[in-house]
């Protein structure tokens, strides 16, 4: 009788609240072991139906038999293998290829099982594929093969491992490289980081060679120098200390959530990109984080995705959710269903900065932490409301989001200095308005009708608003120097001060007034810019909204907050000379 993995309600609640003790996380992790067995069974079916004599399927079957032996020994080698993100990633590729009707890489499985057998000292003989002059032992490293062979017989007698005439080594030497051992001929161990702090240990591989883990939005950094690996190691060790010291809730489950970091090659040095895939539970990918606190935040952020990815395999939380919506952390429209991952990650991020802001001593670092906290905690409720409004959640999904919202409200109740709240609100408004102007398409007949009503002096209140829909990049908004400056105000306060004093920056006069805090003058300058230019860019409108937001009173006119794209369109239709504030007042 086949049973299913069970998830206690208490564990479900703990996960929804963004936490999860190690015992809870292990429930998710255990289910991943079964998932991998399930995928292997599906691949085994496919490997048995093709040409029985083909080398790839034959290698798979031999590996499968060895996995059965590993399971029988009960020494834990099978669980180690089934928990490897490398295995999940390869298995997903196989399934996708089989689904597409193209050839799957069955043979690689022999390498995966061989790695587990070498690690456990289980005797075996397997024919394994050689790729780019290497035999991969995922999770351990690779052996160099010095001729043109495409296959090699890998043998282990329990102590020594040989690969034809290319490798003859003690199997205890074929391990990941923690930087402390000497070289092993023909062997290259995967860099491993062993971090210990405050009684908690975390071991993580820095994976730069496994092709199946090169599956993120940016390419894997495959040619890290020894010096770069040393820097990654130092940064991870320092990040672990940050987590253990201040964010123990995140540190305790991390060893069960993140066992592999894939360094990414960013498009430019200032980009920080981190990403996770449900195909590789236990792996996260990130470009070089500039400091240990940022790396600690990245680990919290991505481990939230790993956690939720595992839970989604177990319990469906989202049913559909194709409707395109605003995600406060993305520049582009996103499907509503995908919002759950984002809001869950940002619950973790907000919690991280809430604790971090209390430990920083440098005023600039404190401001950065406070603004991050203010910004991300305020995104949780609106994003949760979007999820509920779009009916994309299952019953369990609604319960999950309700619990998550309660955590968001708890964070919202935390007191924060006014300056941090004000900067966060401004940056969030800039982001939301920029998104709205960029992606909100409006029915032009409705725009014409409103413009005609304005000309006649009819009250706007009784008129129907034109239909709107999300259309990516319907209007061009320049990547604004102003937006970057506003963000720098808390991300890099010292640099912000330098740049504000620099008169050579390509800012309009209105932008300059805005960033220097002269809101009233900025409002006048933006109005002049909008009415004085034949075709003012939407940037000036967003700037005007930001300047109005800065004024102590009256508060930002509602039309600027909710109907900015419509204001832009109607204003353009009227010929561009109408006073923007008069038009906004008319909208009411």
């Amino acid at each position: 009788m086949l049973t299913s993995h069970l998830l206690p309600e208490a564990a479900f609640s703990a996960l929804a609240e963004g936490a999860g003790r190690p015992a809870t996380i292990r429930l998710v992790r255990d289910a991943q072991l079964s998932k991998h067995l399930m995928l292997l069974h599906a691949i085994a079916d496919a490997a048995s139906t093709g040409d029985a004599s083909a080398a790839g399927p034959a290698a798979f079957r031999a590996g499968y038999a060895l996995l059965a032996e590993l399971q029988a020994t009960g020494a834990g080698g099978a669980d180690w293998l089934l928990g490897l993100p490398h295995l999940g990633s390869w298995a997903h590729d196989c399934l996708i290829r089989l689904e597409q009707g193209s050839a799957a890489d069955f043979a690689h499985f022999a390498c995966l099982v061989a790695a587990a057998a070498v690690r456990g000292g289980v005797p075996f003989e397997l024919d394994v594929p050689v790729r780019d002059g290497r035999v991969q032992l995922p999770g351990l490293g690779f052996a160099r093969i010095t001729d043109e062979s495409s296959w090699v017989r890998l043998c282990c007698d329990g102590d020594r491992v040989t690969a034809g005439r290319h490798l003859d080594a003690d199997r205890r030497d074929l391990v990941p490289d923690d930087g402390s051992g000497g070289p092993v001929p023909q062997w290259s161990g995967t860099p491993v980081i062993r971090a210990v702090a405050g009684g908690l240990a975390w071991q993580v591989l820095l994976e730069t060679q496994d092709s199946y883990l090169d599956r993120y939005t940016l390419p894997m950094a495959t040619s890290l120098s020894a010096e770069e690996i040393r820097r990654w190691r130092q940064c991870a060790l320092a990040a672990w200390e940050v987590l253990v010291r201040t964010h123990r809730w995140a540190a305790e489950p991390l060893p069960d959530l993140v066992s592999v970091i894939v360094p990414l090659t960013p498009h430019c040095d200032t980009d920080l990109v981190s990403v996770t895939t449900p195909a590789a539970f236990g792996a996260i990918a990130t470009s070089w984080p500039p400091d240990p606190v940022t790396m600690a935040e990245t680990l919290v952020h991505e481990s939230q995705h790993v956690k939720l990815g595992g839970l989604l395999d177990m319990v469906p939380l989202v049913t559909s959710g194709a409707e395109q919506v605003y995600a406060p952390w993305r520049p582009d429209p996103r499907p509503a269903g995908g919002l759950l991952q984002g809001v869950y990650a940002h619950l973790g991020i907000a919690r991280f900065w809430n604790a971090q802001r209390r430990t920083e001593t440098d005023p600039d670092d404190t401001l950065r932490a406070q603004v991050h906290f203010a910004r991300w905690r305020s995104m949780i409720e609106p994003a949760a409301q979007t999820l509920l409004r779009t009916n994309c959640l299952t019953e369990a999904g609604v319960r999950f989001v309700d619990l998550l919202r309660a955590q968001g409200r708890r964070l919202e109740a935390e007191p924060l200095p006014g300056q941090a709240r004000e900067i966060a609100a401004q940056v969030a408004l800039d982001h939301r308005l920029t998104w709205q102007v960029r992606h909100l398409a409006i029915d032009q007949a409705g725009v014409a009708s409103l413009a005609a009503a304005y000309r006649r002096g009819d009250p706007a209140g009784a008129l129907a608003r034109p239909g709107t829909w999300i259309e990516a990049d319907t209007r061009k908004v320049q990547a604004s120097v102003r937006s970057r400056l506003l963000t720098m105000r808390y991300l890099a306060p010292a640099r912000y001060r330098e740049l504000c004093a620099d008169r050579t920056l390509t800012l309009s006069e209105a932008d300059r007034l805005l960033v220097s805090g002269r809101a009233q003058a900025a409002v006048r300058a933006y109005c002049d810019e909008i009415t004085g230019t034949g075709d003012p860019g939407p940037d000036a409108w967003i700037g005007l909204a930001l300047a109005l937001h800065q004024l102590p009173s009256p508060p930002l006119h509602p039309a600027f907050a909710t109907d900015l794209a419509l204001l832009v369109e109607v204003h353009g239709y009227l010929g561009g000379r109408t006073n923007p504030l008069d038009l906004a007042s008319w909208f009411g």
Binding site: L2, T3, S4, H5, L6, L7, P8, E9, A10, F12, S13, D30, A31, L33, S34, K35, L37, M38, L39, L40, H41, A42, A44, Y64, A65, L67, A68, Q71, A72, S89, H92, D93, L95, I96, R97, E99, D105, S211, Y212, L213, D214, R215, P219, M220, T277, P278, A279, D313, M314, V315, P316, A396
Partner: protein
């Protein structure tokens, strides 16, 4: 039993104690159903191939 003591039956069959060479004996059962459901989800979510496989 309080609601917090109850457990959710998940979509993943518990295979941890079944040797891989015995999985086939489960035949066209709940396991096959779980696999089909997972493959369906994989298609819906559109998880891309690794860059390595995508180049092949």
């Amino acid at each position: 039993m309080t609601s917090q003591e109850q457990a959710i039956k998940t979509l993943i069959p518990d295979l941890r104690d079944i040797p891989v060479d015995r999985l086939a004996e489960l035949g066209s059962s709940a396991l096959a159903h779980s696999i089909a459901r997972y493959r369906e989800r994989l298609k819906e979510n559109g998880i891309p191939l690794s860059s390595f496989q995508a180049r092949i």
